[in-house]
């Protein structure tokens, strides 16, 4: 209860290495599956990078297999000057025309000190493999015509066995002839399309498989943490539960772990995927064209810059909106719970005005978020469109210069589309991981609580065989300095019974809790069969000592489940015997008898019936010692009789301690102890104590008056 509120409110947490290491510990059993997932991620990334490359090949090799690197000199006289300056590989002659590499010619122009005018020419290139498809002889016959349109490509400017045709000449050919020339291209397009189909089909399967795999891995990890945390909580000492509200523990096992699931399933692997994709695309682009890559990197830097600048106000505004919204919801919830007060004081209007203020405030913050988002998203979108414009401008210039192919330019526009995405996603993953960290911290805080010692080191391996109980000067305090028991000493013989009486808060219940070792004593000893309970295993104690609590807790489930308490295969016959033995006739009248479904808290039973179920529960495990904290609440008279007889039956032959509230119960025990402010002030039989005329006598009178009225 003392957990500071501020820690509960912190939803994000900075990246913490220790925390991360502890979290990864839970992933270890899934290492191989996770590695497989990583491999699949790499396959997906490879596919994403490959797709534009296939398109590039298709365009450059088959859709537009032209070369526009070469220029024809306008002034034939320049040829003599230039020939010496341009290397042989960068010039060739077809028929009566000479062609020069555009870049080299410009270079020569600079050497000569004057610009050399030339006309750019596009050549349709038939590569040797295409030539083979079309038939080399046919092509050669075309090339040897009187006025040829097709030429054998000169080496070393083109690969040996290639053919060239001026694109303008190609266009001038009759359609059938032109189509014939390009039939090899169509075959190529079909082949690459098929490869493309195979790639995307593989990606579909891999992406789906990866998604399933991650889900399985994540869910398994979450399952493990959840079970481990729950089992750990179960084994925490009783004193822990006095302080920790059950709602908070529930949240740890449910919602906090769900936040972790999000991280395991999505963020960690996506983080890897996005980073790898970014690197992969970058490397591929650098290989294709360094200059264009730098352009995109420049735009990427701008995107990162905008993300970095706007992320913080966006996150803060988001946080503000969240706290504002929870304030609104808290306000409404509270006014609903306190609607009587609002209406009794006729302050509906005033409350509405107050609500308007926080409601408007929330809208204001949300609008600010719309504003920030309105800047951020369109700006990023604008940058990616602008990146394509830049590619076109600078790439276009290079296409004109003959140093860039259309395929490469188009490939870059493809990459531009997937290049900025990882940055956006990385920012989001970061937020998810941060909030998972906050949950992880809360979970580990519970995990770090020391568990109760179930089997003490001092246990000598032989549990006692007799079951008498002895308290020797026992002192107990729950909080330091507040002693609840101040020297309790008494003994119950095996099979004997004592009743503890006294006003509320005197320490009766505290005494009973020490026998099954719910708490450890400050000093003194509690002995069971002559052995200190501090040296006995908790399982042994709690198996042999049945504890019937004052307020009966009913779990949702059948009557049988509640008697056999979660046992996997409950012994129905035994339960039936107990039900008969204790006179629980009502069970038979329920629909389905022992299988009748009880709702949470047993709301569909009377308090007397609930009590009887708790007795049956205690008997089911056939304990040697019985501790009974009798219910104070009034029970209808007919149940009362059944309960009294049941109490006599469950005490029979068992060492028992009873916190008694009813005279009839008190009268069934061997001895009565009056507890007052942590001490035993009177003890003896009913008659002895009445005769003594002390506190017991007053308590007795009070109880008589109470029961008289009932």
């Amino acid at each position: 209860m003392s957990e500071p509120i501020t820690q509960e409110e912190v939803k994000e947490r900075a990246f913490d290495v220790t925390l991360m290491r502890r979290l990864l510990h839970f992933v270890r059993p899934q290492t191989w599956l996770l590695l497989l997932a990583l491999v699949l991620v790499c396959v997906l990334n490879a596919g994403d990078i490959l797709k534009p490359l296939i398109v590039r090949s298709a365009i450059d090799q088959y859709v537009d297999p032209t070369s526009s690197r070469f220029v024809q000199l306008d002034n034939a006289a320049d040829a003599k000057l230039v020939d010496g300056l341009v290397p042989a590989a960068a010039r060739f002659t077809l028929g009566d025309r000479s062609y020069y590499d555009k870049t080299e010619l410009a270079h020569a122009g600079r050497v000569l000190g004057r610009s050399l005018a030339g006309t750019q020419v596009s050549f349709y290139v038939i590569t040797p493999d295409k030539a083979a498809q079309l038939g080399v002889e046919t092509l050669a016959s075309y090339a040897s015509q009187a006025v040829p349109v097709l030429f054998e490509a000169p080496t070393p400017a083109f690969a040996e066995g290639s053919f060239l045709m001026n694109v303008e000449d190609l266009q001038r050919l009759p359609a059938t002839e032109r189509d014939w020339f390009r039939s090899a291209d169509r075959a190529g397009i079909r082949r690459l399309s098929l490869i493309f189909l195979v790639v995307v089909a593989i990606m579909l399967v891999v992406a789906y498989g990866n998604r399933l795999l991650l889900e399985v891995v994540g869910q398994r990890v979450v399952y493990d943490i959840r079970v481990q945390l729950f089992q750990h909580i179960e084994r925490l000492p009783f004193s822990y539960f006095d302080k920790a509200p059950s709602g908070r523990l529930t949240t740890r096992v449910t919602n906090d772990i769900a936040a972790l699931a999000d991280m395991y399933i999505n963020s960690l692997v996506n983080l890897a995927k996005d980073s790898l994709l970014l690197v992969g695309v970058l490397v591929t682009m650098f290989i294709l064209n360094v200059f264009l890559t730098w352009i995109l990197v420049g735009v990427l830097v701008a995107v990162i810059f905008i993300t970095a600048v706007l992320r913080i106000p966006m996150r803060d505004t988001h946080r503000m909106a969240r706290t504002r919204l929870s304030r609104i919801n808290a306000f409404i919830a509270e006014r609903l719970q306190g609607v009587r007060v609002v209406q009794l004081f006729a302050i509906e209007e005033k409350e509405k005005e107050k609500f308007d203020v926080i409601n408007r405030d929330f809208t204001r913050i949300r609008l600010r978020l719309v504003h920030l988002n309105g800047i951020f998203r369109p700006l990023v979108a604008a940058l990616s469109t602008f990146a394509i414009a830049l590619l076109l401008y600078f790439g276009g210039d290079r296409i004109l210069g003959g140093t860039l192919s259309f395929g490469t330019l188009i490939t870059f526009t493809f990459y531009a589309a997937i290049f900025f995405r990882p940055v956006q996603e990385l920012a989001e993953q970061f937020d998810t991981i941060q909030s998972a960290m906050a949950s992880a911290e809360k979970i580990f805080r519970v995990m770090d609580e020391p568990e109760e010692v179930y089997t003490p080191e001092t246990f000598d391996g032989c549990p006692p065989s007799s079951f008498d109980i002895e308290f020797q000067d026992v002192h107990l305090s729950y909080n330091e300095g507040e002693e609840i028991l101040k020297g309790i000493t008494f003994k119950v013989e095996q099979g004997g019974s004592v009743a503890l009486v006294g006003s509320t808060g005197a320490g009766k219940t505290s005494i009973t809790g020490l026998v099954p070792r719910f708490y450890d004593v400050d000093s003194g000893r509690v002995l069971l069969g002559g052995t200190d309970v501090a040296t006995l295993p908790a399982e042994f104690l709690r198996h042999n000592v049945a504890f019937v609590m004052q307020d009966v807790f009913i779990f949702s489930g059948s009557v049988l489940d509640n008697i056999a308490l979660f046992e996997e295969h409950p012994d129905e016959r035994r339960a039936n015997e107990i039900v008969d033995y204790l006179g629980m006739g009502f069970v038979k009248s329920l629909e389905g008898g022992l299988h009748y479904h009880l709702y949470e808290r047993g709301n569909n039973l009377s308090s007397g019936q609930r009590q009887l179920i708790s007795f049956a529960r205690a008997l089911y495990f056939d304990p040697k010692v019985l501790i009974l904290d009798e219910a104070t609440s009034n029970i209808d008279t007919e149940s009362e009789a059944v309960i009294q007889s049941a109490i006599r039956k469950i005490l029979k032959g068992r060492t028992s301690i009873i916190v008694a509230h009813r005279l009839s119960t008190i009268r069934t025990v061997d001895r009565i102890l009056v507890v007052q402010r942590g001490r035993i002030s009177e003890s003896g039989t009913h008659e002895e104590l009445l005769a003594k005329g002390g506190i017991y006598r007053n308590l007795y009178e009070l109880q008589s008056l109470t029961e008289e009225k009932a």
Binding site: V63, A333, P378, A382, L565, E701, E708
Partner: protein, 587 residues
């Protein structure tokens, strides 16, 4: 709860007024959205033209520069436009949401006790959180996606048709499939998702129960057995999540795949067309961009349909509540009650709820300024008397008169304002103490607030807090003890300067001396209000002018303390018991 049937058929009956205030924003937003979409379809055209010009050398650096400038300007316009439609559409959705939340809150406050008895806080909260969100999403994102789908699809298709008709039709096939996948898988995913949520709440219930009953589990060493139950439920979550992903996990890869198929068709069919000279490379590039632009609206269409379905269901639930009318009604010609004298008369009052008779022919009379005590066991109907007096409920038969008029004749607020009630279940808001005490409609001065706390004996306690009257109560602030809370609520009632003051078991958590002190203070009020003290402690009632003993809904005994002791009935019995109790406590 009564509303005309014709009105009920109009789904937008409550949303309409809020929407109509923002229709210019909606229309403007959608128009800008359309403009942005048009610009978006223009850009690929520019790209295509420049690429084709590059192929035949008709474009040089100058043309490239011009194209880039054009694109740059268009991008700028798009960015501004995108900001504007976001602000107009999403902003309006937020404003409509604000309005609706306001209406819901006002409705909650106006509905009678009977409504609040029947509806759990959690259920009503779901209305202002989940349902309102669903409506807002339909009005914001849903509307946006539908508009975007219609405008974007239309313009893109027009642009594509102008390039090449057969190619457009071919690439459209996988894109339409995307819309189909999303629309079809939506409900399945929703159902599977609901099953995951069900499993999760089953787990939550189980853990909550185990944590509440942890002592039973430990007492019977059933830790392992309880953990088995957890494993089953946790495993169930795992299984259902995996099942969800078998469908949901296929959605996005499938959409990616279909998008790629569209690209493939373009490459294949478009590429072949280029080799035949019937299509250009620029066209290929433009088409590829168009495909990208169409994929999103297809996705959006599927989502929008799902959003509208959810929003409609939520709106129906909200409408149902907004249709409700208070059951406690005021007559149109209700009397004003400026200066109450404080006379109360119950005239053969019978009150039934859910078939149970709570009060059975109760009659009594209290003159102005009189002090009346009421005692009786739990469920005897004590609190019901207060509820009827303040018209939280109306009587089943019989009349309650205040100053000689039926309480149903007065204006409700006048009546409630004149009666100060300290309720049994102390309720404080998570506000400052000052705000909690000063809940009168017209705020009064600090001086008076302090005086009220002095009279209720809590002034000193408050001044001991660090922030004194500004101390915030509840989860976010200081936790008050039961006695302190009771005295704060007494101060709250006293501050109203009521003509009738009712303390309903309001002193149970204070000790006997404080109780006497407070009762003495109240008795010495100059205004001499009629005072009704409901208590189970004889000490609080012995100085009353009159005590009523209630038993199972009827007045069993009536008289002064001494009268009742002499009668040796229920009152006398309680008296004797409390006497011994005191004796035991003292020892």
């Amino acid at each position: 709860m009564t509303s005309t049937e014709t009105k009920r058929t109009n789904r937008l009956r409550h949303l309409g007024p809020a929407l109509s205030r923002y229709w210019p924003q909606y229309v403007g937003g959608i128009m800008i959205l359309g403009a942005v979409d048009v610009i978006q379809t223009v850009i690929p055209g520019i790209t295509a033209r420049i690429i084709d010009e590059l192929a035949v050398f008709t474009a040089g650096p100058h043309e490239l520069g011009v194209a880039m400038l054009q694109i740059g300007l268009l991008v700028l316009a798009m960015t501004v436009g995108r900001y504007l439609w976001r602000y107009l559409l999403w902003g309006s959705a937020r404003r409509v949401e604000e309005q609706m939340r306001r209406n819901l809150f006002a409705k909650f406050m106006s509905l009678s006790a009977e409504f609040h008895d029947r509806h759990k806080t959690g259920d009503l909260m779901a209305l202002v959180t989940n349902d309102l969100e669903a409506v807002r999403e339909a009005l914001g994102d849903g509307l946006l996606m539908i508009s975007d789908f219609i405008i974007m699809t239309t313009f893109t298709l027009v642009a594509m048709f102008r390039f090449n008709r057969p190619l457009t039709l071919m690439t459209l096939v996988p894109l339409v499939l995307i819309a189909l996948v999303v629309t079809r898988s939506g409900p399945i995913v929703f159902r599977l998702f609901k099953r995951v949520q069900d499993a999760f709440s089953a787990l939550s219930d189980y853990v909550q129960e185990a944590m509440t009953g942890i002592r039973v589990i430990k007492v019977f060493t059933r830790e392992d057995a309880a953990a088995r139950g957890l494993r089953e439920r946790a495993m169930d979550i795992e299984r259902r999540n995996v099942k969800l992903v078998t469908v949901w996990g296929l959605t996005f890869p499938l959409i990616d795949f279909l998008g790629s198929i569209a690209t493939l068709i373009l490459l294949w069919a478009g590429g072949l067309l280029v080799t035949r000279g019937q299509f250009s490379i620029g066209g290929l590039v433009a088409f590829n961009t168009y495909i990208g632009m169409l994929a999103w609206p297809m996705l959006a269409l599927g989502w929008a349909i799902n959003l509208f379905q959810r929003g409609q269901a939520s709106l129906a639930r909200i409408n149902e509540i907004l249709d409700m009318q208070p059951t406690i009604l005021e007559r149109p010609d209700a009397l004003t009650l400026d200066d109450m004298r404080g006379e109360i008369e119950f005239d053969h009052v019978t009150f039934e709820r859910e078939g149970k008779r709570i009060l059975d022919d109760v009659s009594f009379h209290v003159v102005p300024g009189q002090k009346v005590g009421i005692i009786g066991p739990i469920g005897s109907g004590k609190t019901t008397i207060v509820s009827l007096l303040t018209r939280a409920y109306d009587t089943t038969s019989g009349r309650i008169l205040v100053d000689g008029h039926d309480v149903r004749d007065y204006r409700i607020k006048d009546l409630r304002r004149a009666i100060g009630v300290v309720t049994q279940d102390v309720f404080l808001f998570s506000d400052s103490l000052e705000e909690n005490i000063n809940v009168t409609e017209l705020p009064v001065g600090t001086e008076e607030v302090q005086e009220a706390t002095r009279l209720s004996g809590v002034y000193k306690n408050i001044m001991e807090f660090q922030d004194e009257f500004s101390t915030v109560v509840g989860e976010r602030g200081v936790t008050l003890s039961g006695g302190e809370k009771q005295r704060v609520t007494i101060a709250r009632a006293i501050l109203k300067k009521p003509r009738i003051l009712v303390l309903d078991d309001a002193l149970s958590a204070v000790d006997a001396d404080t109780e006497k002190h407070i009762l003495d203070n109240i008795a010495s009020f100059e205004t001499k209000p009629t005072t009704v003290v409901i208590s189970n402690r004889i000490s609080a009632l012995r100085h009353m002018d009159k005590v009523l003993v209630l038993d199972s809904g009827h007045v069993a005994e009536e008289g002064t303390h001494n009268d009742l002791l002499r009668a040796k009935g229920m009152y006398w019995h309680i008296f004797r018991k409390q006497l011994v109790e005191r004796k035991v406590e003292k020892e």
